[in-house]
């Protein structure tokens, strides 16, 4: 059994990775312990308001690399520890049976070489599946630079794999993570994407049922939101990623002028998740949302921003607008759009009906008519001020919805 002290070290070193949702796989139980639930499940919420879904842990935090933004970097003076494959397997099984977790999210610092590190991680997940009979969720971090054979093999045992892009541009990567390069990260991502496509063509759903994701750190380097959203869109298109996660930079006691000294606010991360959401589910394109050298407007959400830029398309009539257009109205989400479409078959809807259906009318009112009636403002600047005022109160509320895969799933209900 792993001891408390090491568990503490390996947990603390893993906590800045945010891509820990357990969704996207419906692995069935085949006689052992566990299965995976497609929508993901949250098992607890920690003091930072984030969900615990997987046991997120490093095999080792003894890193030979020196990425400036990372707590585990070689030059940082912190306690170090590692765990054996059996210790990780046992902990996963025991936590899983007690229903503390949905599965394992295993990552590691580069101890020795990428190959050596990946081998140990692979050994762990194979053991967990074959010896311990575990059918729950496994998310494995791929170590860039490890042999392709190791990485491909891992794909047939785990539900999801991810390589972290880390920083949104090659230049920043060079500056802040000298041992890494764009190539060393993108090549394995591309390989995995290729294997994934082949597997799907051959109807092999055992290879990474929950696909591939990535994470990048926001605010440690100077890239604009426009660049980040374009990069995100490219990653979805080229590598068929399931999710791109953003992690606001938190200083990790490094005294270098290359990094900001204060933590980056969550608002920026929140806006990026909103924009990402619009890309994935609402049919928006990056170029519709934002110019390359622009940042997302902190005062209103990206959908509002888009609508204000395209005010000539509005207002739309709630009783007749197409579902696609309804979804583009600020304040109308999937739930309310489907309620509207169902209810308007029975009777003409008015503003009161919309309030009862919990449409966020404060935002929507400027963009819709109900049976020909319009109750909003016409000038974009006036609209923006009103919305910004009302939004300030609930901005941070929603933040969590977007940064937690499972929650957004349950809140938005059936958006896929």
């Amino acid at each position: 059994m792993i001891d408390k002290e090491r568990l503490k070290i390996l947990t603390e070193s893993a906590k800045y990775d945010v891509s820990c949702s357990s969704s996207g796989s419906a692995r069935k139980n085949n006689g052992g312990v566990g299965n995976a639930s497609y929508g993901g499940i949250c098992h607890s919420f920690t003091q930072d308001g984030r969900c615990i879904s997987l046991l997120k842990i490093l095999m080792s935090n003894k890193c030979s690399y020196d990425c400036l933004y990372c707590v585990n970097r070689y030059s940082n003076d912190i306690p170090r520890a590692s765990a054996t494959p059996d210790e990780i397997c046992e902990l996963t099984m025991e936590f899983y049976k007690r229903n503390y977790i949905e599965g394992l999210f295993l990552s590691s610092a580069v101890e020795g070489s990428p190959d050596r590190t990946m081998e140990l991680m692979l050994e762990t997940v194979i053991k967990l599946r074959k010896v311990y009979g575990f059918y729950g969720y496994i998310h494995l971090k791929g170590i860039p630079g490890a042999d392709k054979i190791l990485l491909d093999r891992a794909g047939s045992y785990v539900d999801r794999m991810s390589y972290n892009i880390e920083l949104p541009s090659e230049k920043s990567l060079k500056l802040l993570a000298p041992q890494k390069s764009k190539k060393s990260i993108l090549v394995p991502m591309a390989n995995t994407a290729e294997e994934y496509i082949i597997a799907r063509k051959e109807k092999n759903h055992r290879f990474l049922p929950a696909g591939q994701t990535t994470q990048m750190i926001i605010g440690a380097s100077p890239e604009t939101d426009g660049q980040i959203i374009r990069l995100t869109e490219g990653l979805y298109d080229k590598f068929q990623l399931k999710r791109v996660y953003y992690s606001s930079y938190v200083p990790t006691n490094s005294k270098t002028a290359l990094l900001p000294q204060d933590p980056v606010g969550l608002l920026r991360e929140h806006r990026l998740y909103q924009a990402d959401w619009l890309l994935r589910f609402y049919g928006f394109k990056a170029e519709e949302l934002i110019d390359k050298d622009e940042n997302l407007d902190p005062t209103v959400d990206p959908k509002c921003s888009w609508a204000l830029k395209n005010i000539h398309l509005f207002p739309v009539e709630v009783n007749t607008a197409s579902p696609e257009m309804l979804l583009r109205v600020p304040g109308i989400g999937f739930k309310s759009a489907s309620k509207i479409v169902a209810a308007r078959r029975y009777a003409k809807l008015d503003f009161c009906d919309l309030i009862k259906m919990r449409v966020a009318l404060k935002r929507a009112v400027h963009f819709i008519t109900c049976d020909g009636k319009f109750g909003g403002q016409e000038k974009p600047t006036a609209i923006k001020n009103l919305i910004a005022l009302s939004e300030r109160a609930d901005t941070f509320e929603q933040m969590s919805m977007f940064s937690n895969g499972e929650i957004s799933f349950s809140v938005l209900g059936g958006e896929l």
Partner: protein
């Protein structure tokens, strides 16, 4: 004005519907538990007559098929004070119109019905995460829960699929209902007897490891107790071991960013 007091049987609401249709009268409220009628409201007790309930059930199936009937039963699991009145109105309207009107969300009753239904399914979903099993000496996994709605038997199949070779008990200590799985079948029963649980010798060790994990997983610079409480209301926490020993977590989380706290509002509104 008239209100119906119905008995505790599962399908007693259907007897109320029978009464209402036979006498062509419309009660302003239907209730089985506590209810404060206004002074001009007459309370009528509706006796449970199985045959009447069955006839109404058949009528409902004619209107909206088995699915309407099972949706009505599903919503009856709600512990909301207005549940009986809402279910009654919805069934009454469907029966009068001879069709399933439950997706007419411009009707306040249908909307209220929909909201009760969503609350139940939401709770079923989150409870599959919040259940905590403890290993007992006999190897059976035991869990006590106190959900808002009567859903213990709805949660159990999830664990049956997940842990097919284990034995477990889910105990709703609020309603004294247990669902047990013996490795083959699920059974649900009511029992008012107190349950004594003897823990396996390793149980406390694993609970401690879980506590350690729970205490050190959050990013302390982003402490946000309000958001935590939104997602995991305090009323659920008394059944979750990680919240029972808070001493260590208090120490660990000492530093905090105050500018984020206070900006969170407690209830979640619609998506955009």
């Amino acid at each position: 004005m008239i209100a119906y007091k119905i008995s505790k049987e599962k399908d007693a609401i259907f007897c109320a519907l029978f009464e209402s249709f036979t006498l062509k009268e419309r009660p302003i409220a239907v209730f089985s538990g506590a209810f404060q009628p206004s002074f001009d409201c007459q309370v009528k007790t509706i006796n449970y007559i199985k045959n009447n309930a069955e006839r109404v059930k058949k009528g409902i199936i004619k209107c909206g098929g088995i699915s309407l009937l099972s949706t009505l039963f599903y919503v009856m699991r709600s512990s909301d004070d207005l549940m009986e009145s809402i279910v009654f109105s919805v069934a009454h309207k469907c029966l009068s119109a001879r069709k399933n009107l439950t997706d007419n969300y411009s009707d306040p009753d249908m909307l209220a019905f929909y909201e009760l239904k969503t609350k139940i399914s939401h709770e079923v979903h989150i409870m599959t995460g919040f259940v905590r099993f403890e290993k007992t000496l006999s190897g059976v996994w035991y869990s006590h829960i106190t959900p808002d709605n009567d859903i213990v038997d709805l949660i159990a199949p999830h664990f049956k699929k997940r842990l097919p070779n284990e034995k477990f008990i889910l105990h709703d200590t609020k309603r004294n209902i247990l669902t047990a799985y013996d490795g083959k079948n699920l059974i649900t029963l009511k029992s008012d007897k107190p349950v004594t649980v003897y823990l396996d010798k390793d149980e406390i060790e694993f609970q401690n490891l879980w506590q350690t994990y729970f205490d050190y997983a959050p990013v302390f610079e982003r402490k946000n107790l309000r958001q935590q409480a939104n997602f995991l209301p305090h009323r659920y926490r008394r059944n979750m071991s990680e919240f029972l020993g808070t001493l260590e977590s208090e120490i660990a989380c000492a530093p905090q960013v105050s500018d984020l706290n206070g900006l969170y509002k407690p209830d979640v509104t619609d998506d955009d």
